[in-house]
Amino acid sequence: MRAKVQVFLKPGVLDVQGKAVEHALHGLGWGDVADVRVGRTIEFDLKSADATAAEAEVKAMCEKLLANTVIEGYRVEVA
């Protein structure tokens, strides 16, 4: 199975990259771009027959390693 994790800053946490990218896109003429958020994606294979179990597993990886839950949230997809 392929797991796909998206990690992004929690709402309210300053997204310095998003801010800079937004500024740059405006400068290049895309002035209507707004609310840019930059996040991280982690994709990987894992051996598991059962999607529900795999999802729980991947969530445990997020809590333990993949996300910094003090400031970041995450979304998990397994397929």
Binding site: V16, V21, A24, G27, V38
Partner: protein, 220 residues
């Protein structure tokens, strides 16, 4: 002799470069704001300094490569003017397509600041002529994304055409084939991760960087 150092928001070696060029060559150095549309008339050397242009957010050098002044830097390079990108400046030159390849995250994923010994891989370029007869030079590096990457065909070509200017004797960041600095096919654009601007007088631990600026201007 006239040189220009481009200042991007987040550049932090701009003054270092100016001082290094002045002390090692006596040339006049203009500071050029990234938002300007043109370089000063008649420059012989353009330097893109180290630092964290635009915070290195998104990708190192990506936003700086799109700065207004960069179109004139490209035009100058096409005219054959000497252009040097140091550290972040090297990243900007790659992002701007003036040099081949890209700089990836360091192999060990950490910023690394240390003194490095370099082999002068080609002492015939206009930036390294002053090193003729010197096989090793010492400078320092300070980078988090200094891991030079290009596909094998490109690397073979760079090596075959003498476009590798410097190699690390002890690779600090995982760069392909130990490459520390490369020139373009025409030989007038140099990018390197080590800092000649931090090695221009003996008090700083090495004066080897001075020769690079001297060579670049001597050939102008």
């Amino acid at each position: 002799m006239k040189a220009a150092v481009v200042v991007f928001p987040g550049s932090n070696c701009d003054r270092d470069c100016k001082v290094a060029i002045e002390r090692s060559t006596g040339a006049h150095v203009d500071m050029v704001w990234h938002g300007d549309s043109a370089l000063p008339q008649g420059v012989d050397l353009v330097v893109l300094p180290g630092g964290f242009s635009y915070g290195d957010y998104l990708r190192c050098g990506a936003m700086a490569a799109l700065s207004p002044v960069m179109s004139d830097v490209k035009a100058a390079a096409e005219r054959g003017v000497a252009v040097v990108g140091i550290c972040n400046g090297f990243q900007i030159l790659c992002e701007a397509g003036l040099l081949p390849g890209a700089l990836l995250r360091n192999e060990r994923l950490k910023y690394v600041c240390k003194s490095v010994d370099l082999a002068v891989a080609n002492a015939q370029t206009r930036f390294t002529a002053g090193y003729a007869g010197r096989r090793e030079v010492r400078m320092t590096v300070g980078n988090g994304e200094g891991n030079f990457f290009a596909d094998d065909a490109t690397l073979d070509r760079l090596e075959g055409e003498g476009q590798v200017a410097f190699r690390y004797l002890d690779n600090p960041n995982g760069s392909a084939r130990d490459i520390a600095g490369v020139v373009n096919a025409r030989g007038n654009v140099l990018g390197l991760m080590p800092h000649p601007d931090r090695a221009f007088e003996a008090e700083l631990g090495s004066a080897d960087g001075a020769l690079l600026f001297q060579s670049a201007l001597a050939s102008a």
